[in-house]
């Protein structure tokens, strides 16, 4: 990396914990869960009946009228989050050269809700009833494309599909672009697959909890861990060079200090998951040591073996109970393409407010898991550096280091 510092200067959150970064942060500190029985469709006949839904979100009020029928809900959520993030960053895009501003988002499910309705048209009425916007609405890059069109951002745009890890990969890519000439990148990501088609697709991972109690279904690292709860939403973050932010005199939330990604070996290979090495490489990328890290935002799979793998990797790098670990995603469920992006937003807020937000739910760590799991808001003497971890289904692994600004 060259000497250019990369900053997070704006946040936009659309999550089960709230619409708006402030609402989200207040809910996270209060341990107010967004997990409840699914209302977007009747879940009675499905093995999973609870989820983290984004409530109080009416696309008709917040998304341009023409765009709504052309796009999936996951794009609507991102468009609204981006509006907030851009406003929060205080940036006037019309003053920046269009090729100097890019969009890089994370997507995992694509437009499943939109696609399901089009498939219903297909098998109920026939091919001519499938609308033309199916061709662009389902596609992973649709959110990036719509953000690019809406705001006139024509820099090196892209989309990262790394399941739950994709949010970190998107910001990692944004950082790469910002250290090679791009001035500002609209990054992060959202996901929204809480429709029957989306839920059935998620069920195939075998990692969803079938516990019906919203307070007891998603208990990562706990002896009662039973899988995860699905959720929707995410966060859009504005990343830019320190020079660009300084020119505007804008105060940043955090610095992006380091990033690394890896991919797990086959489960039957006998080789360990790649997480430990990814953490070490991220630290090296940031030129930091484990002692510099004050909090880890865990991936928190909620699946016993995956929890153990993650706890062992954290323990191997930081020592037993060597670092505070938290998982505010216990309030939202796992948001797939939006999950790690929301964790980055939460970590950035933690660094600004100098508070470690809690993990809600777990009460008794599973055997072999020796973590300093934060279960109530904690104000350490100093909160300098946060490490965000994300592991996606199938082997995606990423780590991002954020520093206090």
């Amino acid at each position: 990396m060259n000497g250019q510092q990369v900053l997070i200067t704006g946040l936009g959150v659309v999550a089960p914990t709230g619409v708006g970064a402030d609402a989200h942060w207040q809910a996270v500190l209060a341990g107010k869960s967004g997990i409840a029985r699914i209302t977007r469709f009747d879940p009675t006949s499905y093995p999973v009946r609870i989820a983290g839904e984004v409530k109080e979100f009416d696309a008709a009020e917040r998304v341009p009228r023409k765009v709504i029928p052309e796009t999936d809900r996951w794009t609507h959520l991102a468009l609204v989050a981006a509006d907030e993030a851009l406003q929060d960053a205080g940036v006037d895009l019309s003053t920046l050269p269009e090729f100097d501003v890019a969009v890089v988002t994370s997507s995992s499910s694509g437009g499943t809700d939109f696609g399901q309705h089009q498939m219903e048209q297909l098998y109920q009425n026939g091919p001519s009833w499938v609308g033309v916007y199916q061709s662009i609405a389902w596609f992973y890059a649709a959110t990036t494309g719509q953000l690019s069109i809406r705001h006139g951002l024509r820099g090196p745009c892209g989309v990262l599909c790394g399941e739950q890890a994709g949010g970190l990969d998107a910001i990692g890519q944004a950082r790469r672009l910002l250290t090679s000439g791009t001035r500002l990148v609209v990054s992060g990501g959202t996901d929204a697959s809480l429709c029957p088609y989306g839920l059935v697709a998620q069920l195939s991972s075998g990692e969803l909890s079938t516990v019906d109690d919203p307070a007891g279904a998603y208990l990562p690292f706990d002896a009662e861990a039973s899988g995860h709860v699905p959720g929707e939403g995410g966060a859009i973050v504005i990343t830019e060079t320190a020079d660009a932010a300084r020119e505007r005199g804008h105060e940043a939330y955090a610095r992006v200090l380091g990033y690394a990604a890896g991919f797990d070996p086959r489960p039957d290979s006998g080789r360990p998951p790649v997480l430990k090495r990814v953490i070490e490489r991220a630290l090296k990328d940031a030129d930091l040591t484990p002692a510099d890290v004050d909090v880890v935002f865990a991936d928190a799979a909620g699946v016993p073996q995956r929890d153990l793998d993650e706890a062992q990797a954290i323990g191997a790098v930081f020592g037993p109970r060597g670092v505070a670990v938290t998982a505010p995603k216990t309030l939202t469920g796992r948001l797939y393409g939006g999950g790690a992006a929301l964790d980055v937003a939460t970590a950035a807020l933690a660094l600004r407010h100098q508070v470690i937000p809690p993990t809600t739910g777990p009460t008794r760590l599973a055997p072999g898991i020796d973590l300093d799991l934060v279960t109530a808001p904690r104000q350490p003497a100093q909160l300098r550096t946060a490490l965000v971890l994300a592991r996606g289904h199938g082997g995606f692994t990423a780590a991002l280091l954020l520093g206090r600004q």
């Binding site: 341009p64 009228r65 023409k66 001519s128 609308g131 033309v132």
Partner: protein, 84 residues
């Protein structure tokens, strides 16, 4: 025989209109792209015509419909050909 009028088209156009889109008045010879409808939007309207009027509109018909006036003319030619 069915006929397709500019007002029929206007109604379809309103379905996918941007806020503040000007569809009243003399739009007959204004190009669709100038009215804010890109090629996908015109294709979607062609699909809607097909579904509502039961006439087959080929996908490449978009090139025959650069303006509302041309679209009305083209759709009526399809009706005539179908003997509807």
């Amino acid at each position: 025989m069915s006929t397709f009028t500019l007002d029929d088209l206007r109604e379809l156009l309103r379905g996918g209109a941007e806020e503040g889109a000007v569809l009243d008045g003399d739009i007959a010879n204004t190009r669709f792209d100038e009215l804010g409808y890109d090629s996908l939007a015109v294709l979607e309207i062609a699909g809607e015509i097909q579904r509502r009027f039961g006439v087959v509109v080929p996908d490449d018909a978009v090139t025959e419909m650069p303006t509302p006036a041309k679209a009305v003319e083209f759709v009526n030619s399809l009706f005539a050909r179908a003997g509807a």
